[in-house]
Structure formats: C-alpha cells, structure tokens
C-alpha cells in the first residue's frame, strides 16, 4: 500500500523508480527519497528497536538530528551502523537492516527488557552488576553488550576511499534557509568570497519543508532563483550535503560532505570528504530544531515532530494519514493550518494553552496528550481535556513542543548560551566564537521575514569586518507571524514519558537522578546517559534539563546546559583519517639503491621513514641468520658495500661555522683541519646525549656534519633553534643536504680494491676526507668506519646513486665481497661497541656511554646541565659489553640484569640490555647494555633475565669493544 500524496514531494523524481530492501524486504520508491521517507511512503513506520528496552521505534524527525531511526547500511561486504534513515538517500539496490534486535523486527526477543523496565532505571547497571567482581568482565559485560547498543560493524578493514580537503573563503555561511540565503546573497553581491554550506542535498531549509511565500513566489521557487544567481557567481561556492560539524580556533571549521554515500556504484568517488574550511568571517544560519513533548508512550512509531511531518509531506509527498497535533505554541498551530490546507486530515489539534477555538478542524484547548496505543505503530491517541479523556484514532501524532535554536557551533569554544523566556529556549550570546555571528532561527528569530532581514543584516556587518561595502538590496516580502509559546516539557499522567529516544531516557530517570543527588546537569547526563547517543541529545537536552530544573527547583537558567562539543553530527573516523591508510600512513623514503636492493631479494625494514635492506639472501639462505653471518664474514675478510644515504647530512657554512659547531658539539670542531673528519657528540640542553655523528671539514668555512637516520629531523630543528635563538648574528648557515648525496660505505680489507675499480685512489689517512672524481662525476670520499674495518664512504649526487650502487656491488662481488644489510651492519657495530639510538635513548650522559672524555672544557649546549650531581654521581648505569658464560646461549635485548643470585625484582635491578648480535667473528652472541657502575665490573658474572621471553642467561661483563680494541684494522 502506498502512502504517497499525488503531485506532492519536491525532492522525489516520480519518473525514476528505485528499488531497495529493508530487512530483506524489497520496496519500490523514487529517486530522491531518503530511507525514512521511503519506508513511511510504504507504510513501514516500524524502523528499529530502542537502545535499552527494545521498544518498537519509528522516525521522529526528517533531519540529521534523528534520534530513533538508526539503521545499518550493507554494501560490498561492509556494514555501516547507526545511519540515520532521515539522512540516507536512496539508490538502486540499497540494503538497509534494522538494528538492535534478536529475531525479527516485529517480534524482538529482547522486548522482554521493556517488561523489566521498573528494574532498568537510570543507574541500574551501576547498582546491580557490582559483585562478584570477577563476573563483570566474563558474564555481565558481554551479556549487557549483546542486549544493548546500536548497530554493528563488519569487523573488516574499511578499504573504501575517503577524502580530506581544505577550503578558504572570506565568509562561510552555515545553512541555506531564509537567513543563510540572504546572507550569502548580500555577501556575494558585495564581491566577498563566499562558501554556503548546507547539509541537505537541496538547499532551502524550511523554505522547502513549510513552503512559505517569499517575494510573492513559492519558497522553493524563490530559493531556486537565488541558487541560480549564486551558482553563476565565480566568488561563491555552494556546498550541498555538507554539514559543518565543528567551530575551531582562528576561523577554522570542520565539515563533513557526503560524497558517494548516495550512489549505487561510487567507483573512485570518495564516500565522504572531511573539509577544513578557513573563513575570515562566518555566519551561523543553521535554523532551529523542533522539540517533542514528553508524554506517556510518546515513543511509538507514528509519533513525529510536526516539522518532520510537514517535511515528509512537502518534500517527499508522504501521506501521514489522520494526524493529531500536540502543540504548545503558535508555530505548531500554523503548521497544523498548513497541513489542513493541503488536504491532510487533522483528527485533532491539542494545545495546553487557552486558545480561541476558531479552526476548521477539531481543537482541544487546555488539553494534553496523555497516552498512545498501537502495538507496533500508533493507532490512537489519548487526549485529556476539560471534559475527560478521549481516544482519537490517528496514524500520526505530530509533536510541536517549541523550537531550540541550532546554536551548537556557536558554543564549540566553550561559550554558554543564555535562556530566553520569550521563546523558552537557549539562544547564543554575541561573540561566543570570534568571527562567528548567528542569524535567523539559530538565534531565535523565527518568522520568514525576520530571518531574511536578519541574514541580510548579519552579512552587512560581516562585510564591514571584511572591508567591503554591502550592496543596496530590498528584502523580499514574506510571512512575519509572531511566535508565542507556553513551555510544556512533560505531561505528568503516570506511565513512562520519553525524553531521549536514542538512549531510552524517560522523565522518571531524570527525576531519579535529581533525587539521588545528581542534580548538576553534567552529572544527570552521565548518570542517565541522556544526550550521549549518536544524536547527542539534539531533541532531548533542553527538555531534560528543564525536567531536572523542575525536580531540583533551581530553574532553567541556573541549571544551565552541558558542554557543546564538536562534532555537531557524527563524523566517521575514516573521513577524519582519510588518506592515512596503507601507503598514505606515512611518506616512504626510498634510497637510490632501493630498486636494485629489492631486485636482489632483500627484505626491507623501516628505519624512521626510510626503507633499508635487512640482508641480501643468497641461494640456500632461508632466513636472516645465515645471510647475516656470511655478510659479516665477508666484510671482515674481504669487502662489503652498504647504502648509508639515510644518515642526515647538513652543510654548515660561514666564517663562524666552527664556532657554532663548538657550541653544539661536546667536542671541538673549530680545530679540525681541512680534509679531516671527527666523531662528534651532541647533547640536549638537559645534559643527556641527543645524537652522534661525524663532522667533516671540507673547507676553511665549510663543514659537513652527519646525524643518525632517526634523529635527522630533530637535529636540524635543534640546530636551527640554537642558531636562531642564541647565535642569530653569526656568520653561519645550515643547509640540509641529506637528499642531495647518495652515500655508500665500502668496508673491509679489500675496500681499496673496490675503490680502485671506481678509479679512485684511496690514499686517505684514517678520518680523512677529499673530493674525488668517479667516472667524471664530482663526488666525496670519507675514510670513516662503522664496522671496525678499513672503511670508506663514497658520496655522489643522488641521480648517480643507483648506478654507483650497482658498480659497487659488482666490484665487491668481484673481490669476494658483497652488499650487506642492517642485520650485518648491527653485528659489525656491536662487535666494535659502537653505539646507536638503542644506547643513546635519551636518558644517558656522555659519561654513561664511555664518552665523557669527549666533553671539552668549553661551554656547549647541554654541558652545564650534564654536570648536575645526579648526572655525575657514582653508581650510574654505564655501557658494558656482555658475553654469555656458556658460549652457545642466546642473548636478548630488553632483558634486565641482576646479580647472579638475586631475585628478578625492581629493587635488585642492576641494568638492562640494549643491543644484541650473533657474532660469527667471535662465534657467540654479544650484548651491549647498561650496568650500575659497569666500568668497574668487567669480568664479573651476572644474570640476564628476560621475563618476557622467560630466558635466564649468565653473562660475563666486559669492555664494550669486543673486537680489535686497538683499532688496528680500521686505521689500516
């Protein structure tokens, strides 16, 4: 059976039929329907079960504030829960399912909860499921979660496309109703860059839902004319399906655009786009939200807001059947007159006020709705009046409890609205968000004519702030009816009267909260969960606090509101994190050798943002260990090649370069001769080691320093800070050249042979550097070693990196060498006791790592603080080497160190292991770690205890340099 009014429905295209399914049942509707209008048009008022009591629920509103009609949308193996049926636009094949039920929607097994309702009042869970304690996690919580809650997720990764974007404008107008239209029109004509955002797919607001006349035209026609003018202007951007969700600092707004949610096959179209809109000025014209009246059984399917009924009739042509209107204000009466004039059968107009009865439909003045009947949908309404109680048959009960200005965005900066007795609602104060003004119904200005005027005035004021002149513009004629209201929050007639439909909170719950001492509105909210559902209490907050105010006797202004926080409507995490999946999670930094490295079969590991080879497997090497052992042996016995381009490289130039470096390094760089390299240590200002690296003097006023891979960005920022904060006038400049140079380590006794193959004569002394020519390309050669072998690093401009790496691998292999990866690099450096950020982890001093001698007599960053008593006292943990007493035992990093017979307790802790490596050179695992007073304990046997892996190993403490302590190999 169709509940569609012939000829009505601005939004639907009757020439384009669409099929969709709800709980597996197929329905025929039209393009332009929302899921809510489509279901109502098919007579399906029951749309879901309530959160707590599993009561049958329908749809209350026609907008994004919908608390009740929440459904799951299933598509392509995914499901999106808690979709508001009033917002979801239909497309061919849409599959929706009702939520929160066990069994069919019409016979929910958990509806028994409703019979138990006397026990399930606010605070029920807090009071009931406390003991025994162990029951909570295993029994109570799973059962409660099964019974309560809303929709469910698929549990799969959401691989759909989402988008984020930026927009900038002079004036952001939020909401395209009468006030928004005028504001945008005035500002656009004045030449301002305007963005007009509206959450509907068609702009117009109540012009579309109520059809008031504007300028002698029907509202939608007038709106269409304005759209046409604005759309043609280059300085206007119209954003439909876009909800502005948050007002942030300095004119930044968040907005969610529904891009592909209404399309059957979106292809590459993003589902949603999360906009960051930056506006010099903004005007909030978001209108107002009608509120229901809490009366017994006011949550039955078929009970709607009067504004929702009007929208369903005019926008989607839905026939509401016989309507009872329960209203306490003039707007409700006006809506009833409009519906009647459109041919809707008004079974009764019920108003608690003493209004004159001169309407052509039945009016019950000084009367109240005191109940409803109908198992899964409204059948009749109980109206209590002077003459008693009448049961009036109706398919729809329209509630009109007054209007709450949609002021949420104006309160997002923690501003508190003020109470207006005139409209019995909260209204924004001026200046709650700098640069944001509020116009129209959003500030309690309700007639169409007043909204048009207010929008225009607000735009004129904004133009003044923008330094633009408002154009002369005459306001179109429109209705200017006064608005009178006598507040009625709840009908006290026994039974349960719902405030918050989404979280199943009744007037009794709020009164109970007050009675139990939760009399502050913030406490009441948390105790009852009122306003904490996906709709954030848009249709219930004000009524709930009014009921609370009455219960406590504090009055509404003193009770105040809870805090308004973004987002205004739900924003999917996927939209906010758009672009952040998979490759978009972080930039991938690839070395110039990357392609060849991968072609050689090397598994890659992440080092910061860089990808570096773990090892280069050869035939028969099935995991890292044999490959690593071989690579280490080849470096020690022949030659190895490794890409070390990931190290940070900073050009330091200027007459004061040496002086500057002396200030940032613990050691002295100004005395470094040209053509030499020195190891350097940097401290943080608090005295702990920040980073280490090398410093090469390329010329009299030209140094090149390196940082570790991980700390490159931090060191650059630090050097910039020291320079700009303390050395601003100095003749020194810092330029990052990390990316300019591809740099390769060539290490091993046959390193010179490889270099000779490049045509480079390695006549450099240890720690020397020099310019070189490689195949006609100007490069640099450094004689430095991180392996303990005779080592060189050769650098060429990055465009030649891939080619040079290929040459080096070919030459190394020709000399019985190989390319080596991070595993071998780690073993080589552990054998030599060289530190990395595993050791300089931010809590060690230069002395802790055995480099106290590198702190020169001069001042430098970190030196004064490094001399504090706590950092110099005896007994600090010092870097040591660790060797297993039983040579075959495996050491593990992260393990803690204890005296041999001590229990593994915090008090007994002697230190910890930072790095381990299986050394093929010494044929055992080696470890580096920090041990209390460690340098004095070489030779001692202690216990390594890895509680996580359940390992206990006796280790001998030794000097951290295990191999070639004299350094004869690397000095050559």
């Amino acid at each position: 059976m169709s509940f569609r009014i012939p000829g009505k429905g601005l939004m639907i295209d009757r020439t384009r039929p669409v099929q969709f399914s709800f709980d597996g049942k197929r329905f025929d509707v039209f393009q332009g329907d929302t899921l809510a209008s489509a279901l109502l048009a098919n007579g399906q008022r029951l749309m879901g079960r309530s959160f707590k009591y599993h009561r049958p629920r329908g749809v209350l509103t026609a907008g994004s504030e919908e608390p009740s009609a929440l459904v799951e949308i299933h598509e392509r193996g995914q499901q999106t829960p808690n979709v508001r049926a009033t917002v979801q636009e239909l497309y061919e094949g849409l599959e929706a399912r009702s939520q929160n039920r066990i069994g069919p929607l019409g016979f929910d097994l958990l509806a028994v909860n409703d019979l138990m309702a006397p026990f399930f009042s606010a605070g029920f869970y807090y009071k009931t499921f406390m003991w025994p304690r162990a029951f909570w996690e295993k029994i109570y919580e799973p059962a409660i979660r099964r019974a309560a809650g809303l929709g469910r997720l698929s549990g799969k990764h959401d691989e759909a496309v989402y988008e984020k974007a930026w927009a900038h404008c002079d004036l952001l107008v939020i909401g395209a109703g009468p006030a928004g239209w005028m504001a945008a029109l005035v500002a656009a004509r004045a030449g301002a860059d305007v963005i007009l955002a509206d959450e509907d797919r068609r702009m117009g607001g109540r012009l579309l839902a109520d059809l008031p006349e504007v300028g002698g035209q029907a509202g939608p026609d007038w709106a269409a004319g304005v759209v046409a003018e604005l759309a043609a202007l280059p300085n206007v951007r119209l954003m439909t399906r876009t909800t502005v969700t948050g007002a942030y600092d300095d004119g930044t707004f968040g907005a969610l655009e529904r891009v592909g949610l209404h399309v059957a096959d979106p292809g590459d179209l993003p589902r949603e786009c999360f906009w960051r809109i930056v506006a010099k000025r903004a005007i909030l014209c978001a209108g107002a939200l009608e509120r229901p009246i809490a009366h017994p059984d006011n949550d039955r399917p078929g009970v709607m807001l009067a504004s929702g009924v009007s929208a369903m009739v005019n926008k989607w042509g839905v026939d509401p059947g016989a309507v009872v209107v329960f209203s306490n204000n003039d707007s409700g009466l006006a809506a009833t007159r409009r519906l009647f004039a459109q041919g809707i059968r008004i079974a009764a107009y019920v108003d608690p006020r003493a209004i004159p009865v001169t309407e052509p439909f039945p009016v019950y003045a000084q009367a109240q709705v005191t109940g409803t009947r109908g198992r899964l949908g409204l059948r009749d309404v109980a109206v209590t009046h002077a003459g008693g109680t009448s049961l009036i048959e109706a398919r729809t009960l329209a509630l009109a409890g007054g209007w709450n200005p949609t002021l949420h965005l104006a309160c997002h900066r923690n501003g508190r609205p003020e109470w207006s007795e005139r409209i019995a609602a909260f209204v924004p104060r001026a200046g709650m968000v700098p640069g944001l003004s509020v116009a129209g119904a959003a500030r309690g200005v309700f007639s169409t004519a007043a909204c048009l005027a207010d929008g225009a005035a607000s735009a004129a004021e904004a133009l003044g702030d923008l330094g633009l002149n408002p154009p002369a513009l005459s306001l179109p004629q429109a209705e200017d009816a006064p608005y009178a209201i006598v507040p009625l929050w709840a009908v006290d007639a026994g039974g349960r009267a719902w405030l918050d439909f989404a979280n199943d909170v009744t007037t009794k719950d709020v009164k109970l909260a007050a009675q139990e001492g939760y009399s502050s509105v913030e406490h009441m909210k948390r105790y009852t969960t009122q306003g904490m559902a996906p709709d954030q209490g848009k249709s219930s907050n004000v009524a709930a606090l009014a009921v609370l105010a009455e219960a406590t006797g504090q009055g509404i202004p003193a009770t105040g509101t809870t805090t308004y926080r973004p987002p205004f409507t739900p924003v999917s995490i996927a939209a906010m994190g758009a672009g952040g999946r998979a490759e978009g999670f972080a930039p991938r930094r690839l070395m110039t050798s990357d392609a060849q490295t991968r072609a050689m079969g090397a598994p890659m590991i992440e080092a910061g943002l860089w990808y570096r080879p773990s090892y280069f497997p050869r035939a028969g090497e099935t995991d890292w260990r044999p490959a690593c052992d071989r690579e280490v042996r080849q470096v020690r016995e022949a030659v190895g090649v490794a890409d070390v381009s990931t190290l940070g490289k900073i050009d330091v130039q200027g007459a004061d370069a040496g002086r500057f470096l002396d200030f940032v390094y613990t050691n002295t760089m100004s005395t470094l001769p040209v053509g030499k390299v020195r190891y350097g240590l940097m401290l943080r200002e608090d005295g702990f080691v920040m980073d280490d690296g090398t410093c090469a003097r390329l010329g009299d006023t030209h140094y090149l320093i390196t940082t570790t891979t991980a700390a490159a960005g931090q060191v650059m920022r630090h050097l910039d800070f020291v320079h700009q904060a303390f050395c601003a006038g100095w003749d020194v400049r810092l330029i990052s050249v990390t990316e300019t140079w591809a740099q390769f380590a060539v290490a091993g006794p046959r390193a010179r042979d490889v270099l000779a193959g490049l045509g480079v004569q390695a006549a450099l002394p240890f720690m020397g550097c020099a310019p070189v020519q490689i195949g006609g390309v100007a490069g640099r050669l450094f004689r430095i070693s991180f392996s303990g072998e005779e080592g060189y690093e050769v650098a060429v401009p990055a465009r030649y990196g891939a080619s040079l790496f290929a040459e080096l691998v070919r030459l190394a292999e020709a000399h019985e060498g190989c390319a080596y990866g991070m595993e071998a690099l780690n073993v080589l450096r552990v054998e030599k006791g060289f530190i990395t950020h595993a050791e300089i982890h931010g809590r060690v001093t230069a002395d802790d790592v055995g480099l106290g001698g590198m702190v020169a007599r001069k001042d430098c960053i970190g030196k004064p603080a490094s001399q504090r008593p706590g950092l110099t006292e005896p007994g600090r943990e010092q870097l040591v080497g660790l060797m297993p007493v039983n040579q075959g035992e495996v050491l593990t990093a992260g393990a803690h160190l204890y005296n041999e017979r001590d229990a593994a307790t915090r008090e007994n802790n002697q230190g910890y292991v930072t790095s381990v490596a299986p050394s093929p050179t010494l044929d055992m695992w080696l470890g580096l770690g920090f041990l209390k007073n460690g340098r004095a304990r070489h030779g001692e046997v202690i216990r390594l205890d890895d509680g996580l892996r359940g390992r206990k190993v006796l280790v001998e403490v030794c000097h951290p340099v295990f191999f070639d302590p004299e350094g004869g190999r690397m000095r050559g």
């Binding site: 930026w166 942030y248 600092d249 300095d250 004119g251 930044t252 960051r276 930056v278 900066r413 700098p434 200002e685 608090d686 650059m716 920022r717 910039d720 800070f721 320079h723 700009q724 904060a725 303390f726 601003a728 006038g729 001042d859 030196k863 004064p864 603080a865 504090r868 008593p869």
Partner: protein, 89 residues
C-alpha cells in the same frame, strides 16, 4: 589553530611544531649555578591567560615566539627569533 609566520603568513597549526615555553630563550650563564639551571630547564608557569611559547614553522625553518592566551586561545603576537631581516638580507 592558525599562526602567522612572519615569513609565510597565516598557516594552519599542522605546519608548526610546538617546542615549549619561551623561557628556553633565557639560557643562563654556564656557571649560573644549579638553581638557575634547574629553573631554566624544568620550572614552568602554567598560566590561565597570557603565555609565551616557542613554535617551529617546519616549512620555512623559522623559530617563532608566540604570545597567546590559554583561556581565549587568542594569538596576540608571533615573533621570529633572531633578526629575521638582518638574517635574511
């Protein structure tokens, strides 16, 4: 949040890295003593109102001193450390 970099103009806060209180600019003499260094490194006010802190504008590598209000979030001033003009010219 938006900060006005003296080089680049007004930019979104995600272009900036927060460092800490502007107190870091008042580096004591190396021999100022433990108390002065402790205060410099660790003691910070937590004002409800005007505060000054250091931000780095990553895109242009400028260190900035920002004067702002922790209550209203108003940005009162942004100053580049060092002599921006003399530095650059």
């Amino acid at each position: 949040m938006r900060l006005t970099c003296p080089c680049c103009g007004t930019r979104d806060r995600r272009e900036f890295t927060y460092y800490g209180a502007a107190e870091f600019l008042n580096r004591p003499a190396p021999d100022a003593g433990l108390q002065a260094w402790d205060a410099y490194l660790h003691l910070r006010d937590n004002p409800a109102g005007i505060t000054r802190d250091l931000w780095y504008h990553d895109p242009c590598q400028s260190w900035l001193e920002v004067t702002r209000d922790t209550v209203t979030h108003e940005i009162h001033a942004v100053r580049a450390l060092g002599d921006l003009v003399g530095d650059a010219a």
